[in-house]
Amino acid sequence: MPSANYTREIPQRYRLEASRCVKCGQVHYPPRLICPGCRSRQFETVALPSGGKVVTYTIISVGPSDFAAEVPYALGIVELEGGVRLMAQIVDVPPEKVSIGMPVTLEFRKLYEEGKAGIICYGHKAVPA
């Protein structure tokens, strides 16, 4: 049985849904239950923009087994317009050409499979804008 987590996380994984604190306005991704800024428990759902830039990155040469066929690949922190940061693979660009400040767009991609007979897990990766 696929992880219940995956199904629960579909809104944030597929649609980049974040939570904005109604009290202090901070946007949290992944969504939070309690605002670390003001301890409020009241949030509204907002969709993150898909455009941003690379804040920092590393190149993975020996990856976990799910990603063994993809090495070497770049994994980075992307800051989206509006300031929210998230971690994503940076693809569709040779890893040596990735740079800090590079404009990127988040695109819907397959992240991994839960084995040959399991479910396919989707999410977002960063591609050159």
């Binding site: 649609r15 066929a69 569709d92 397959k110």
Partner: protein
């Protein structure tokens, strides 16, 4: 106003393999394939790209042009012969990613390369019937040809998405038509990895019979002739067939060249003629009439006549244009990298 296209979008991988590279491995003549098929290179999906991911990006572009929200979509149909799951719809994943769930009709379509246009026709029908306000029809594929087979030189990856509606129409659908018989020109049985085809048989009694039958049928039904169209686009299993059928029907190169993507893209199966149509809509002018005829083995063709409205100019620049993506940055793969991407190498299971 009749229902029509309110937004369109296309997507394809940035990876390519050249005909020369495939021919080199199999000891075949690249020149003969390039000349015979009129194809130079084809798109290749990366391991993280499948019909669902291509569909989502194409559909997001269509939403931008339509200027509507995902939640406004009342039906989502993905036509493909490479749905990622044998059992489990592609459309649920696509609709979820667009935010169209939960109030959304959905089922996947299959009819070789015609599955996408059937989805578009059903989407138009639901809108015309007043059952939904907007409906999404997508043609998407990441198709495989058997190694060394002629199909390996063309089978490629891409998607085009169309949002149909009655408000904000950019290309009104004036007529639809379908022409279909039971013809075994191309098939794949359950548990077989690669499709089989009837070789030369696929030309005359299959592609040409149905595409010509559909094109002449819809022109007769609508009282139109080739000169009434600014553009036409036909299914593109290679670069030759659509050019030949266009000439036979009496169309001129300036009518069919804009939509002919196969020489640089390959055959994107369900995405093929819908992607060609997207390249036409990218440049079409208000008042332009477009003839669109698909083809799917098995066999059948769907025909559409669209007429562009004044609004088309306002939305063309709202998302990437198909020829810009096609001719934009590309990464060329060796045959070895290509078969790794396509999962054609037998690997040990994880942990072994």
């Amino acid at each position: 106003m009749m229902a029509g296209i309110v937004g369109w979008g296309a997507h394809m991988p940035r990876y390519r393999v050249k005909v020369e590279e495939i021919a080199r491995v199999w000891g075949a003549s690249a020149e003969a394939y390039k000349k015979g098929l009129d194809v130079q290179e084809k798109s290749v999906p990366a391991p993280d790209t499948d019909s669902v991911t291509l569909s989502v990006t194409a559909a997001r572009r269509a939403l931008k042009r339509a200027g509507i929200r995902g939640a406004d979509i009342g039906a989502c149909y993905v036509g493909s012969e490479s749905h990622p799951y044998a059992v489990k719809p592609s459309g649920t994943i696509v609709a979820e990613a667009l935010g169209a769930t939960p109030e959304c009709r959905c089922a996947d379509f299959e009819f070789a390369c015609k599955a996408g246009t059937e989805g578009m026709a059903v989407a138009l029908g639901l809108v015309d019937a007043g059952m939904v306000r907007y409906a999404l029809g997508i043609g998407a594929d990441t198709s495989q040809g058997a190694p060394g087979d002629a199909l390996e030189y063309t089978a490629s990856a891409g998607a085009a998405a169309y949002i149909m509606g009655k408000e904000g129409v950019v290309a009104e659908c004036e007529h639809t038509y379908s022409y279909m018989t039971d013809t075994a020109d191309f098939w794949r049985r359950e548990h077989q990895y690669y499709p089989q085809h009837a070789g030369r048989f696929t030309g005359e009694p299959a592609y040409f019979k149905h595409v010509t039958g559909c094109a002449t049928g819809i022109m007769k039904k609508s009282g139109t002739k080739p000169a009434d169209f600014a553009f036409c686009v036909f299914h593109q299993p290679n670069g030759k067939f659509p050019a030949t059928v266009a000439k036979q029907l009496g169309f001129k190169p300036e009518q069919w060249k804009q939509g002919l993507l196969c020489p640089l893209l390959g055959n994107t199966y369900s995405g093929s003629s819908p992607m060609g149509l997207s390249a036409i809509l990218d440049v079409a002018e208000p008042g332009d009439r477009i003839l669109h005829v698909s083809y799917g083995s098995g066999s059948g063709s769907d025909g559409f006549i669209y007429r562009c409205t004044d609004r088309i100019r306002e939305v063309q620049g709202l998302a990437p244009k198909t020829r810009d993506i096609l001719e934009g940055e590309r990464f060329y793969l060796s045959y070895g990298e290509y078969v790794k991407f396509r999962g054609k190498i037998i690997m040990n299971e994880r942990g072994a």
